[in-house]
């Protein structure tokens, strides 16, 4: 027994000294050089600003858009008013439909791409992204041309006699959703495509071999296995959708006020920064909760920039 206590003591004394050297001085210096810039940048331009944002959301609005540095919860209470509540619910409704349509449209595209040769699917990817690389905004404006009462679609339908008078296609929720789907579809297809492409065909074969109908195979095997890609697509659509005020400005014509528009307004016309900050905080929290669910379900944040 005494021998054992002796080794115990020895272990303890070495334990105390164990952090003496982990790596050489030069290795440390090189780490500092590599990690320094991103660390400083993240602290200065992500963490600190978010801190300011939270801070501002508890401040009081003074006259003429000034900020009074006095703690208040009014900005958050303000949000429960029906007028703002309807903005939030409208945003969520639009984001929901946009996401649903985008995923439903995008998934079969992913399936089609997964069945192609690598080279062909690469070309399709480029074709998908090319219009948006340049200027989504200008191209989005084409919808104004196409959807207005004397626009391409209406005049076509009038000419073939399907309509007697033009339809109001523009400046409503429908137009906003179309615009949003247009903007986010290409981004949503890619993660779904990559998860479908990674799917082991042997699993599908196995399911078929075990006598499952194609529908069963799809819902019980393919869909669960490609769900990370679908989740990534949902996140990639839903998040920007809520903050993207330009689409509703352009195609909603002020009919459709979204959270993004509301926040933007607090920093321009209304000049109510604390309220704008509080809205941003709430928006961020909602999204972060969603993202947390996404990662809890096994999603990786790295898939969001695939």
């Amino acid at each position: 027994m005494p021998e054992k206590t002796k080794t115990d003591n020895l272990e303890k004394s070495t334990k105390r000294r164990r952090h003496k050297r982990e790596q050489s001085v030069r290795a440390t210096i090189s780490n500092v050089i590599m990690c320094g810039p991103i660390t400083v940048w993240s602290v200065l331009f992500i963490l600190v600003p978010v801190g300011f944002l939270v801070f501002m959301s508890f401040m009081t609005k003074g006259p003429l858009g000034r900020i009074v540095y006095k703690f208040t919860l009014d900005n958050y209470k303000e949000m429960t008013k029906p007028v703002y509540f309807s903005v939030v619910s409208e945003s969520l409704v639009i984001a929901f439909w946009t996401t649903l349509i985008t995923v439903l449209m995008g998934y079969p595209m992913g399936v089609a791409m997964a069945k192609m040769k690598k080279k062909t699917s690469g070309l399709v990817t480029i074709a998908l992204m090319l219009p948006l690389w340049v200027s989504g905004l200008v191209i989005l404006y084409s919808f104004v041309i196409m959807l207005n009462t004397s626009g391409t679609i209406n005049s076509f339908l009038l000419r073939i006699g399907l309509l007697s008078k033009p339809l109001q296609l523009l400046y409503n929720r429908f137009a906003v959703i179309i615009g949003m789907v247009y903007m986010f579809l290409p981004f949503a297809v890619l993660p779904m495509y990559s998860s479908i492409e990674k799917l082991d065909p042997a699993l599908i074969e196995a399911s078929k071999d075990l006598g499952a109908k194609p529908v069963t195979t799809f819902f019980r095997v393919q869909l669960p296995l490609t769900s990370p890609g679908i989740f990534a697509a949902v996140i990639l659509t839903f998040i920007p959708c809520i903050g993207y005020y330009m689409v509703s400005d352009m195609l909603g014509g002020g009919q459709s006020m979204l959270v993004g528009n509301l926040i933007f307004r607090q920093f321009t016309i209304s000049r109510n920064w604390p309220f704008g900050a509080a809205l941003s905080v709430v928006l961020a929290v909602i999204i972060l909760v969603m993202v947390k669910i996404y990662t809890k379900l096994g999603g990786s944040l790295d898939d969001l920039a695939a």
């Binding site: 070495t14 334990k15 050297r21 050489s24 290795a27």
Partner: protein, 383 residues
């Protein structure tokens, strides 16, 4: 004695709360082929990495030619490494890979080309210089990795399980080739493996590690014939191991009580320290030293029943059961006069062949009980 080329003195390594290398003392002589042998996770690779400089010891000193190399970066140390998965640069061809070490040192182009040629000849890869890495087979990659590490003419070459990814046949061939290279170049090789056969084939000396501790350092013969710990005895080669205690010591002889029974042993066969009466020990008897006789032998013996007999080509492996249920492994080259399965026979061995290893820790209680029980039940029969 010449100065050791690499020395590790009281080296400890912690990863967080994990004590991976414990009080390591190791002297590597110039020109020897030393193998660090042990199961995965025993700290052998960490030990190697402390020599190459990728890890720093938490405490203790690593010396090259008696000089402390704590402050020397991997790229300043006079050692080169052959990595487990080759670690060839995928963006370079074979010649560029091999010449990398010289290019870094800004050696003139013509000299690099000449020395790369020499290396290609050495590892028998002439004509492959323009090949890309992903076009090479495992064995060829291995040769490139060796050539790349040797071109810097290191004093010590470290090899981290370099043959792990190769198939059996290629492995045997490379073992012989590595040994040939080492003899030809006279460079010190420090070789890490978990394969005891590989270690026994190539090494001048073997350091057996388990759980961060070097259990024993010695020539393959010493390690095999005189294992100093129960772990070494069990890890290298096959063995029959019996825990027991020393019952009597008289002159050159001892009497050991074990779970299988009480039998005599020789003091000169005691490894790894001294013992007193009642000290715990482990007795190791190699299967090829076990005797299975149909006729009653001289000296002591036990009764056993043959259970299985397996012919594996160069020898016959047998498993027998003693009266108290203990299994015994017996290996024999000739098949003459062997009991058949189901047959009772006389089990014995020469006292010369039983190695007695003092136990490091006190014997477990239940083992002690079974020793008592065995001693009461079966006394060896003397003629």
């Amino acid at each position: 004695m010449a100065l050791p080329i690499v020395q590790m003195v009281n080296v400890e390594k912690w990863y967080g709360n994990n004590h991976v290398v414990k009080n390591c003392n190791l002297s590597i002589e110039a020109g020897e082929f030393l193998t660090l042998l042990g199961p995965s996770g025993c700290g052998k690779t960490t030990t190697l990495r402390m020599i190459s400089g990728f890890e720093l010891p938490s405490s203790g000193v690593v010396k090259f030619m008696n000089e402390n190399v704590e402050k020397k970066e991997p790229y300043e140390r006079d050692v080169n490494t052959v990595f487990q998965n080759y670690a060839l640069f995928p963006n370079m061809n074979v010649a560029q890979n091999i010449g990398y070490g010289l290019k870094v040192k800004k050696v003139p182009k013509e000299e690099i080309a000449r020395r790369v040629d020499d290396m290609l000849k050495l590892v028998q890869l002439e004509g492959f210089e323009k090949r890309r890495i992903n076009q090479m087979s495992g064995g060829q990659k291995q040769r490139v990795a060796i050539a790349r590490a040797l071109i810097n003419q290191p004093k010590v070459l470290l090899l981290d399980e370099p043959l792990g990814a190769l198939d059996m046949k290629l492995r045997k061939q490379m073992q012989i080739e590595l040994k040939r290279l080492q003899r030809k170049l006279g460079i010190t090789f420090v070789y890490v493996t978990h394969d005891q056969e590989e270690a026994l084939t190539m090494s001048d000396r073997i350091a057996v590690m388990s759980e961060g501790v070097i259990d024993q350092i010695g020539t393959p013969k010493e390690i095999y014939l005189h294992p100093k710990t129960r772990f070494v005895a069990g890890f290298i080669g096959e063995s029959n191991l019996y825990d027991g205690i020393v019952r009597e010591i008289e002159g050159d002889e001892m009497v050991i009580g074990t779970e299988v029974g009480v039998f005599p042993a020789l003091k000169k066969q005691l490894t790894g320290g001294t013992v007193k009466v009642n000290d715990p020990v482990t007795v190791c008897i190699r299967p090829e030293k076990m005797k299975a006789g149909i006729t009653e032998p001289e000296g002591f013996y036990f009764h056993a029943v043959m259970k299985e007999k397996i012919f594996v080509g160069n020898l016959t492996k047998m498993i027998a059961v003693m009266n108290n249920g203990n299994e015994i492994r017996i290996n024999r080259i000739d098949e003459k006069d062997l009991p058949e399965p189901g047959q009772e026979f006389f089990l014995s061995w020469d006292t010369e062949d039983a190695v007695v290893i003092p136990s490091r820790s006190p014997i477990a209680l239940d083992t002690a009980d079974s020793i008592e029980a065995a001693a009461a039940a079966e006394q060896p029969e003397e003629t």
